[in-house]
């Protein structure tokens, strides 16, 4: 049964519990017309090598998690899209490096749609014929991304940064790798990762808790046990593989991503949120529009409004990426590195307070967006972290911790740059 937890400081509540092995989180949002449910498994494009108990490590074709995502929409009686459409809902899914997630939004018939979601994810129907049919579709998806400079500059940066970790490969795999995929390989992955214990259900909207409990009790399968399996862990060297990668795509203005390879050693679910917030603060102090560095680079025409940054943290890899458009991307990197060296020892407390204030506001604002909120919380819950800790940990972070992270950024051989022009 789901239990209620209150978060008084932001006037929100959540219902949480485990139903048939599936960790479930429901955030009611009264008055919203749209309801959102998301079923997520801890299986993404990075999990391409794993061993079942008693067996050796086995490597799977790149892109298999994403391929499986496409195929789960297939049922014996055809694709599941039409069944959702009859109920007025829009289903979709995506795969990233760490997870695959299936979701729908609906404005009516939430209960029926939820039942459909659970049923189709736990009911694979893979045949030689329908697996082969999908290859042409995914090939076009890969080619579409090949023509997308934003996407290419990103994966080139990761390829440049990592020596062996599969985060360096495209999520969808390659045209060659997807043609090696068979129903048998897909079933092996499915049976390993698509068990309730390895998954999370997040629901946001104007929903009825009892209905949700009933649907999940009835539809989440109880006959699938979490098998003993081990996913390959990668130990990356601290330094980047290459300092620079450059590709030509005939762009009118170069796109770049500057990457810093961080060290996630010692990070587990207990300090995950803290590290993430520390780095969010550091990036905002350095790169947000109120920073002197931004003002200086923008005013001199070195960067434009597309300038942005993002921090990623996982158990065996972690990085800060800074991207945008510039005529002189390498100069941007040099300027950033120099600025960090100049600023590393002092954090202005007024700046820190302002950035924290801004983060309080953006955390609260997340509760205005049903889908955005569902997505945000699932990224924490699937990693065993409570997103509602955000508020208190943020308040608690001090100048010393920030200085420590800043100083770490001065490691010269952890930086790289990816340029497309």
């Amino acid at each position: 049964m789901l239990e209620r937890v209150y978060f008084d400081n932001i006037k929100e509540k959540m219902y949480t519990g485990v139903i048939n092995g599936l960790r479930t989180y429901v955030i009611p949002k009264r008055g919203y017309t749209k309801s959102f449910a998301m079923l997520t498994t801890k299986f993404g494009s990075n999990q391409i090598e794993f061993a079942k108990k008693g067996e050796g490590m086995k490597e799977y074709p790149k892109g298999i998690a994403h391929f499986l995502e496409h195929k789960l929409f297939e049922e014996e009686e055809g694709n599941i899209f039409n069944r959702f459409a009859e109920l007025g809902a829009s289903p979709n899914a995506y795969t990233n490096s760490e997870i695959t997630t299936y979701y729908f939004t609906s404005t009516e018939g939430f209960k029926e749609n939820l039942e459909l979601l659970v049923k189709f994810v736990y009911n694979p129907y893979l045949t030689e014929e329908n697996v082969n049919k999908e290859k042409g579709i995914i090939e076009q998806e890969i080619r579409m991304y090949d023509d997308n400079p934003g996407f290419r500059v990103y994966f080139n940066a990761l390829e440049c940064m990592y020596h062996s970790h599969p985060v360096r490969y495209d999520i969808a795999g390659t045209v060659e790798s997807i043609y090696q995929i068979t129903p048998e390989l897909l079933y092996e992955c499915y049976n390993t990762f698509y068990v309730p214990e390895n998954m999370v259900m997040t629901i946001v909207g104007d929903v009825n808790i009892e209905d949700i409990e009933k649907v999940l009790e009835k539809t989440v399968p109880q006959d699938r046990n979490l098998a003993d399996f081990e996913v390959k862990q990668y130990s990356e060297e601290p330094i980047v593989k290459e300092r620079k990668v450059h590709k030509k795509m005939g762009l009118s203005i170069p796109n770049f991503i500057i990457g810093f390879k961080d060290n996630p050693k010692g990070i587990d679910k207990n300090n995950f949120m803290r590290r993430k917030l520390q780095m969010d603060i550091v990036s905002k102090l350095l790169f947000s529009r109120s920073s002197s560095l931004y003002e200086e680079m923008y005013s001199s025409g070195l960067i434009n409004e597309s300038f942005s940054y993002e921090y990623t943290l996982e158990a065996d890899y972690s990085h800060l990426l800074i991207g945008g458009e510039s005529r002189e991307p390498e100069k941007v990197m040099e300027r950033i590195k120099q600025y960090i060296k100049d600023k590393k020892d002092i954090v202005n407390s007024e700046d820190l307070q302002r950035v924290k204030k801004m983060m309080v506001g953006s955390f609260i604002s997340r509760f205005n967006n049903v889908e955005g909120l569902g997505n945000f919380v699932k990224d924490y819950f699937i990693r065993g972290v409570n997103p509602f800790d955000y508020y208190d940990i943020l308040k608690d972070i001090n100048e010393e911790e920030i200085t420590q992270r800043l100083q770490y950024l001065t490691n010269d051989d952890r930086w790289c740059i990816s340029i497309i022009d």
Binding site: K34, G88, M249, Y298, G301, S365
Partner: protein, 405 residues
């Protein structure tokens, strides 16, 4: 009719304000874009980006932007600001008032002298706008869509690129811009929208000052048959071919059966329930994406898909066939029901986002249309297959665009 619209809703934790100024899409589009960029750079009170963003961050990370968009034959400037409701401010700061004051400052006190905007800002923003215009081809998907729309509206105001053009940009004189901004600001209607847990009184007098009833006659974009099919093939270094088919609908939100047009498009290519998704992607594995959309103010319909270049003939035929299927009434009950449900659900969903809600309604109001979302839903529910077929038969193919290696 007052151009102030307050959408009171208790479900949001934020308050949001949009000041929308619809401008004619004409040969001054480049100037309009440059002015929008310059207004964002500094005001008398906050003369630098740093000053602006420090202020906004202190308002708990208020979101602020000036969004430029093309809807029909108008260019919309949307001055948007959003911040958390005062009840969440840790020290009781009056955030809504601050947000309105800031918006007022941006439009009324730009950083200008008789010589124009700040000279260095002018130069940088000119460079940025030039890059923006020139980088149009860098995003192949959006470029392909822009091109097909241009091809089928050649010579009409609709074909003007929303960010303007480089030649005009190079000729702009800084000293002309402040008076142009005044002219735009004073002589066009300005729609002020506020959405959130807001009482009208709490907004104070700034609201009335920001809105403007100055009316021009609303010009309705012309829609007309051309009786020709222009075929354009553009060679680019791409891995995937982009195929677009452009139709004149001869129906728009101003004339003809707009509600049937909306349902028709949904059946044809408005989602995973549609003919284009099921035929081009699911049955023939030709594409990852395959869909259609309509431009409701101008009366245009575009079919778009990304395919292997060798499948050009096959994909074109299948796309055209889907339109023929709709024209001949080959539509099942499930198809029309799913299409209507999807449309209605999408419309209701708009009310969950403050930005989308104000954006959607302001466009209607700027064109003098008084529908609310529920009015549109009521009309959509009445559409039947006969009306869809009748509407489909006014579609005429006017252009085919193919981007290929």
């Amino acid at each position: 009719m007052d151009n102030i619209n307050i959408i009171k809703s208790e479900k949001f934790k934020n308050n949001a304000i949009s000041l929308v100024i619809p401008l004619d899409l004409d040969n001054r589009v480049t100037e309009y874009n440059l002015i929008a960029a310059l207004l964002k750079r500094g005001t008398m009170k906050y003369p630098t980006s740093k000053a602006i963003w420090e202020h906004l961050q202190n308002l708990y990370g208020a979101v602020f932007d000036i969004v430029v968009s093309k809807k029909g034959e108008k260019l919309f400037l949307n001055f948007y600001i959003q911040c958390i409701n005062d009840t969440y401010a840790l020290e009781g700061e009056p955030l809504l008032k601050e947000a309105l004051d800031f918006l007022y400052e941006v439009v009324n006190n730009p950083l200008v002298t008789e010589k124009g905007f700040d000279e260095s800002y002018f130069e940088i923003e000119k460079d940025n706008l030039r890059d923006l215009i020139n980088s149009r081809k860098d995003n192949k998907d959006s470029y392909a869509l822009d091109r097909i729309l241009e091809i089928i509206t050649e010579g009409e105001p609709y074909s003007i690129y929303k960010y303007g053009d480089v030649e005009k940009l190079n000729a702009i004189k800084n000293e002309d811009l402040p008076s142009l901004w005044k002219e735009i600001y004073n002589n066009n209607p300005r729609f002020l929208f506020a959405c959130g847990n807001i009482e009208g009184k709490a907004l104070g007098d700034k609201v009335a000052l920001l809105s403007n009833n100055a009316g021009k006659d609303i010009s309705i974009p012309k829609t007309s048959f051309k009786n020709e099919v222009k075929e354009v093939k553009e060679l680019m270094d791409v891995n995937q071919g982009k195929l677009c088919l452009g139709y004149r609908t001869n129906v728009s939100i101003f004339n003809g059966d707009y509600f049937a047009l909306t349902v028709m498009n949904s059946i044809l290519g408005g989602g995973t329930h549609s003919k284009l998704f099921n035929e081009v992607r699911e049955k023939n594995s030709l594409a990852y994406y395959s869909y259609s959309f309509i431009e409701k103010f101008k009366g245009l319909l575009v079919i778009s898909c990304g395919i292997d270049s060798s499948n050009y003939e096959k994909a074109t035929t299948i796309c055209k066939t889907q339109m023929e299927e709709v024209k001949s009434g080959n539509i099942s009950k499930e198809e029309i029901n799913s299409a209507k449900k999807k449309l209605i659900s999408d419309l209701r969903t708009i009310t969950d986002s403050q930005y989308s809600y104000m954006d959607y309604i302001s466009a209607l109001r700027a064109y003098g249309i008084q529908y609310n979302i529920e009015d549109i839903i009521r009309e959509l529910e009445k559409v039947d297959i006969d009306r869809v077929v009748q509407c489909a038969n006014t579609m005429e193919l006017n252009g085919v665009y193919f981007m290929t290696k």
